[in-house]
Structures are given as structure tokens and as C-alpha cells.
């Protein structure tokens, strides 16, 4: 498909065409802009929870089988997973309460931040 396109399309080099598109305005400033720290926070949270799902998958696969086999009780199959999730939930709650997943702050919150050392 790309080859077809290469054969078909015209090439008319022209400098202004290659300029960055900013809705027709003349571009200002670089693209290395400072963006919201929240993107970083979210990425970090994702890392944690994504890995957690990796670790949960093996459990999920064996769960039903383990229950089927009589030798393991419900507590010893379900318990560790609940503990695991509980720890994660504590983590999530902590992140939530500390504003890691809060994209914008309300004026009251900003004000209360200012007082802090």
C-alpha cells in the first residue's frame, strides 16, 4: 500500500508547507513544552497496576482449578488474592487522597496548599 502510494503521489517540496501546523497561525515557540505533572503521576500509577494485573493473571487462571481440587480450602486460595488486592486498594486510596489522580485543583485546595511549609 505504501509502495502504491509512493508511485502515485506527487512531490512538490515547498518550505512553508513543511511548517508546523497551528491552525494557520505562524508557529511560535518550540514543541518541548512543559506539560502537566499529572501525566507523569498517571504513568507511574499505571506501571504499578499494570504489573499487578500481570501478577494476578496466573492466579485467575488457576483459581477455578484450585477450588475444584479438594485439598485447598477457599481461604487459602482466595485469601492471598484478597490481601494482594487490599494492599493495592490501600495504595490507590493513598494516591487518590494525595491527589495523584486529580487532574485539576479547586481554588480551595490550591489555597490550603499555600499555607503548608
Amino acid at each position: 500500500m505504501m509502495a502504491v502510494s509512493y508511485l502515485l503521489r506527487p512531490t512538490v517540496p515547498e518550505t512553508s508547507k513543511r511548517a508546523t501546523y497551528e491552525s494557520g497561525e505562524v508557529p511560535t515557540g518550540g514543541t518541548r513544552i512543559r506539560f502537566n505533572i499529572q501525566y507523569y503521576m498517571v504513568a507511574m500509577l499505571f506501571l504499578v497496576f499494570d504489573i499487578e494485573t500481570v501478577l494476578l493473571f496466573p492466579w485467575a487462571v488457576t483459581y477455578a482449578d484450585a477450588l475444584g481440587a479438594e485439598e485447598y480450602g477457599l481461604a487459602s486460595t482466595l485469601g492471598p488474592m484478597l490481601l494482594f488486592v487490599a494492599i493495592l486498594v490501600v495504595g490507590l486510596a493513598w494516591a487518590w487522597r494525595n491527589g495523584a489522580v486529580q487532574w485539576a485543583k479547586s481554588p480551595q485546595q490550591v489555597e490550603s496548599e499555600v499555607d503548608r511549609p
Binding site: Y72, A75, S76, A93, W94, R97, N98
Partner: protein, 535 residues
Amino acid sequence: MVNALIPAEWLALAPTLVLALTAMVLFVFDSISPRSTNRPALAGIAAIGAIVSLAIAVWFAVAGTGSENADAGYDLWFVVGESQAGAGAINLFGGQMVVDQMALFFMIVVAVVTAMVAIASYDYMAGHTYQAEYYSLLLLAATGMSTMAAANSLVTIFLALELASLPSYALVSILKTNRGSVEAGLKYFLIGAFSSAIFVFGISLVYGVTGHLQLEAIADVVTGEAEPGSGHDVSEMGGLLGLGLLMLIGGFAYKTSSVPFHFWAPEAYEGAPAPISAFLSSASKAAGFVILFRVFTTAFPLEATAEIIGLEWTHAFIILAIATMTVGNFAAATQENVKRMLAYSSVGHAGYALIGLAGLTVDGGELVLGAAMMHLLVYGFMNTGAFLFVALAEYWGVGRTFEDYNGLATRAPVACAALAVFMFSLAGIPPFGGFWSKYFLFTGSLEAASANPAMLIVAATLVINSALSLYYYSRLVKAVWIDDPVSGVDRDFGGSPTGLYAAIVFAAVMTLVLLPGFGPVADLAIDAASAVVVS
């Protein structure tokens, strides 16, 4: 795994679990009241958690948990199960964890250092924004170190190692606007990540050769009692195993700040908040040593491993011990900065503890290994105390060099008396606990020398370095006690911070008490060592 959830078994891990639980409680506290500056509550929770952990560990150790020769008459075990005392090491989760005397010994070290650091941080971290985070990370790192004490498989060892390391990275750089702290954190982290990569690769090679990650299972393959899953001949893969072992040593060297991965230590300890320096250089180092001891004594029996790789691994430790001692002490002797001097001296002490492995022989060595363990315990008190004194100095805002410390004794005689105790104990001169542990190391090396003459060199290096260390340790004592304060410097710094003082005095008292009270410690350590050496 079948009985993993039956209370009697896993409750043996209670000291570790208490630490983990405390960390969780701190997180919950912080979640309920984010950005809380309720320092008494936070420091209190952390300290109480550590002390409870300590109490349980001491109780278990005294009651004979995980020991084979519990003294009759201790009937404290009822909570965890009546039959466990004196029944030997308790294997948990299919041998992934083990609670024996050595594990308990190091759990004690970790818990006591954590408690002191938590109490001291109450003052040191006053005015800091991230109170709850600080204590949570501290307890999490302590959990990791405590887990390291009980880890009995390369999997759990690596997990625990990282659980201890990751919060430590953050703790070192927690003073976010302090360039030193950030730089220290960066260097600590980069070298930590690098060495853990090496460590994992080493694990993968060992796994490739033996087909197991559980330490006893590895040992069975190495000694030829069991076949690896693939059925190949282990003895033909000596090169790979040797390389793996070398890489493992690299990982451990980082954690214990030994040569050749020691160069992060002065940076990290100098830049980090002083209580964290204390924490890392005492608890973290001790935890690094416990897995080092466990891996090499349990998984790689000296004789069998030597047959496969063609070299006794004790030789590596002899070289490392000599190099580490010498590098640490000589570098420390040239420092002008107090914290940096302590950091290098901490490297030197890692060298002393390495003697524990260097002195192992085919048919024994529990004395020298036990001595290394004792040294780490005593070191836990004296070194923590010394760094906490630096914390006190930083709290008062006196400078960083020896000159800045001049004449502090006129202002704070009690703390400076404690400092003198720490310094002389670190140097290993008699009226303090440090004397015993160093003496035992010396005796142990001499004993091992009958089987391995190279240990004579080690013993000689130990003595020479101890003598050298007296020079720079006494220099600090001289500065605070004898030298006159620099004129023109305003010495009117505020207050006597209770928490810091309490921790420092406690450490000093323990350093002193360990002199007459060394008997039980020595018994415990030698019992623990003989359990792992013989098995």
C-alpha cells in the same frame, strides 16, 4: 503451600509482618488525613511498630523458635504452636522463607535500628512536608530488610532486596530541594539498579545450571544429590556457575557497600538525611549480609561448589574483605567531612563483616560467621548512634567538617559523651561492645587460619585497620571534646530535641550494655551460625 494459612506456621514471620502492617497503617493514616503533619502520631506509629517487631523477634529468639536446642522451660511458644520451639528451622511457603535463629537475629537488628531511626526522625524531619510518606517508606524498607533475613530462595531474596532498596532510593532523595540529597539519591539509585540487574543475571545463570531457585534445592543439585530438571551434568557447567556466583557477589557487594560496589556509599550517606544514612548503613547493610551469609552457606556448600567451579569461593571473600577493609579505612582517614568519614568507615566495617564468609572452612567456621553476625548487631547500635549524632549536629545547623564540630561538648555534654562511646566502640577498643565483636572476628580468623593460611593476612589486616581507624575516630572525639569552638561562629542553636537525644542515648547505653551483656548475643549468633554452616 498446603498449610500456608494455618496460623501456627506463618506466624513465625510475625516480626516482619508487624513491620509491613505498620507501613500499611501509616498509608491508611495518610490516606485518611493526607498531608498530615501530626508528627507525634506518625513517628509514634512507626516507632511502636518497630518496637513491637523487635519485642516479638526477641521473644522468639529467646523462646527458641527455629532453633534445634531450645532450652527447656521456655513455654512462651503457645501462641504460634506448641511443638515449634526447638524443632529446628521453620520452613514456610515451600521453603521460600525460613525462620531460624539467624533470621531472628537479623530481624532484631533491623527492628532496633528502625525504632531508633523512627524516634530520631521525629525531630530531624520536623518541618518537612512529606511526613507520612517518610515514615511509610521507612517501614516499608524495614519490612524488606526483615524479609531478607528470612528469605530462603533466590526469588524471595531478590524480591526482599528490591523491597528494601526501592523505598531507600526515595528516602535518600526525600529532601527534594536539597541538591546533595537529590544527587545522593540519583547515585544510589543508578548504582542500585545497575547492580540489581547484574544480580538478576547472576540468578538466571545459577538457575540455568541448577534448575532451581530455592536454596536447599540448589544445594542438592550442587552436591549431586539431585539432578537438574534437564538431566545435564552440573559439573560440566562450572564456568557458567562461577560466573553466576561472581555476579551474585556483585549484587551483594552493592547492598553491603563492599568493594567493588562501594563507591555509592560515601555519596549516598553524605547526601541523605542523616537518620536515613544511619538506617542504610546499619540495617540495610546487616540485611545485605544476612542473605549473603545464607546464600553462600546454604546453597553453595564450599566443598561441592569448589569441585564444580574449581575454586573455593572463600578466596573471593578473602580478597574482598581485605580490599574493603583497607579501602574503607584509608579513605576514611583522609576525610574532612564527618558524615563522609562515617560513610567510609561504614565501608570498612563491611570489610570486617565479610571476614565471616572468608573464614568459612570445609568443616566449620561457625565462630567466625557468628562473630560477623555479632559485629553487625553491635554495629547496628554504634553506627546508628554515630549517624544520629550527625543528625543532631545537622539539626542544630553546625557545619559538616571536623572543625565545625569543635567544642560541641561544652554545649551538649551528654550527646558528646555518647559520641565518644560510639567512636571508641567503632574503633574496637575495650570498654564498649565493639571490642567484643572485633575480638571475636580476630579470634575466628585465627582459628580459620589453621585450615587456610590466607586468613592470617586477613587477621593482620583487621588489626592494622583497627589501629588506623582509632586515628580518625578519636579525631572526632578530639574535635568535640578538646578543640575550642571556632571563634566568631554563633553557637546559640536551639533546644535539645527529645527524640534525637532519646535515640542517641539509647544507642550509647546499648553499646555499653553489650559489653557485659555480650554472652547471650554471642550464644545466639554462634548457634545461628552453626545451624547454617552445618546444614
